[in-house]
């Protein structure tokens, strides 16, 4: 398929589905509070513009902060793990426990500890917990995967532990880290929204709250609008991180080599 076709076909499918949806809602007289027509959702976008924009910004801020926090703390702890087996033995099990315990189950506890008055901090912690683990485990693996012979070569020329880390292990771990970032970016968004659901209404003001509130008031079109924004955010995060991956890896990494023949 041609390059343009790769974009045109899915867009045409989307338009066709929307057109059928619009027609079907009118034709079968589906109630607005069950399934609103695409046009009604579009109206919600303009009617609730201020509220949606502010909710989007609130959620996005939590996601970005949690993601950056996960990135920094995950890479830092991975560096500690790669340098000390003892640290890994002592701490890794707890990282796994944090990872496997469902975030919805931890959320009430974190919110009580941090306090309802600091709900943004609670959301940040919850989104961070979800986004942290892929960064930690992938980067640890990447740092460990440095070529033994190259490490010997560095030692032969008198490299320090930090030179080996900075010039050999970190660049080698970059493909692992970038893969993990794509996963963590999506998870941070999920974590932020789930945490808002757990926090309940009236305190948090992000897109998760918008969906809960709109649901309670049977404003189904607003729910759809918020949902659409969440999807767009998720896709945007993924594309942004994929672009970053391409920029950093395309000169040298096998994953970026195009197979034309």
């Amino acid at each position: 398929m041609s390059r343009a076709g790769n974009y045109i076909v899915p867009v045409l499918v989307g338009i066709a589905v929307l057109a059928f949806w619009q027609w079907a809602v009118g034709h079968w007289q589906v109630p607005r509070f069950v399934l609103p027509a695409p046009s009604a959702i579009a109206h919600s976008f303009s009617d609730d513009r201020a509220e949606l924009l502010s909710a989007t910004w609130t959620t996005l801020r939590v996601v970005i902060e949690a993601f950056v926090l996960a990135l920094v703390s995950g890479v830092a702890l991975a560096i500690v793990f790669s340098m000390s087996r003892a640290a890994e033995l002592a701490l890794y099990p707890y990282a796994v426990i944090l990872q496997v315990t469902p975030i919805v189950a931890i959320a009430p506890l974190i919110i009580i500890w941090v306090g309802y008055e600091n709900i943004d901090t609670a959301l940040l912690i919850l989104a961070w917990i979800v986004a942290f683990f892929p960064i930690l485990s992938n980067t640890t693996l990447g740092l460990r995967s440095a070529d033994r012979d190259l490490i010997d070569l560095f030692r032969l020329y008198g490299a320090s532990r930090w030179q080996i880390l900075w010039k050999l292990q970190l660049p080698g771990a970059l493909p692992y880290l970038l893969g993990a970032m794509k996963i963590s970016g999506g998870l941070a968004l999920i974590g932020a929204v789930v945490a808002e659901f757990a926090a309940g209404t009236g305190t948090a003001t992000g897109l998760g709250w918008t969906i809960t509130e709109a649901g309670n008031r049977l404003h189904i079109e607003t729910m759809f609008a918020a949902l659409a924004i969440l999807s767009i955010l998720g896709v945007a995060i993924f594309f942004l991180l994929s672009a970053l991956e391409w920029v950093l890896l395309h000169r040298w990494h096998e994953s970026a080599v195009s197979r034309e023949n």
């Binding site: 012979d149 010997d152 070569l153 032969l156 490299a159 010039k167 080698g172 970059l174 040298w252 096998e254």
Partner: protein
Amino acid sequence: MPVRLKGISKTFESGLQAIASLDLEVRDGEFLSLVGPSGCGKSTALRIIAGLVAPTTGSVEWTSAKPEIGFVFQEPTLMPWRSALGNTMLPLELKGIARGESETRSRDALKRVGLAGFESAYPRELSGGMKMRVSIARALAAAPKLLLMDEPFAALDELTRQSLNDDLLKLAREDKITVIFVTHSVYESAYLSDRVIVMTPRPGHVEADIALSAPENRAADYRLTPQFADNARKISTALSQAMGRAA
């Protein structure tokens, strides 16, 4: 004689004994090959000389200060995120040499291994033989007095291997580098070496020490001479004896 190994043995933590009592004198400026079956401790011996592995017993003695050592591995072991030039500059960079000088010397080293024009190419854009040339340029850039090579051309096809053999011989002579070359190819060692040490299977020790008579300037047609055939036969015979004793 830049280096002497005295009674070197190496037993790994796993209990595997790689080398038993290895005595070896390396003379200044010679091209010395270590030949032996896989697992006879040749690679371990090189790593002990380089100071990367500590021997269990015995000692490595340098007549004067420990010289600048270059190491070429079986694989090119290049960093895929660095260009040919970037890879060649690594040793100088680690030794703290100024960027300008290190770049000049690295460009020169790449030119000498026949890679002028490929400075900015990344390893994935290079063939196996070219990657090995970058690996050799990297070792040469640091101006070694002793070059340790661990079966460097084993993974290459015959034609590439022969052309690399010729270039290596020329470069080592030009720079007066002492070379210790590990291989399991009788013909490669017969072509390259001034002297060949044949080692027994694990645990390795010296089976035979064969000085080869060969013209100073060898070319590809040297492989067709009776002198070459005679050298190869000597090495081959010693190798069969080494294998037979173990069996």
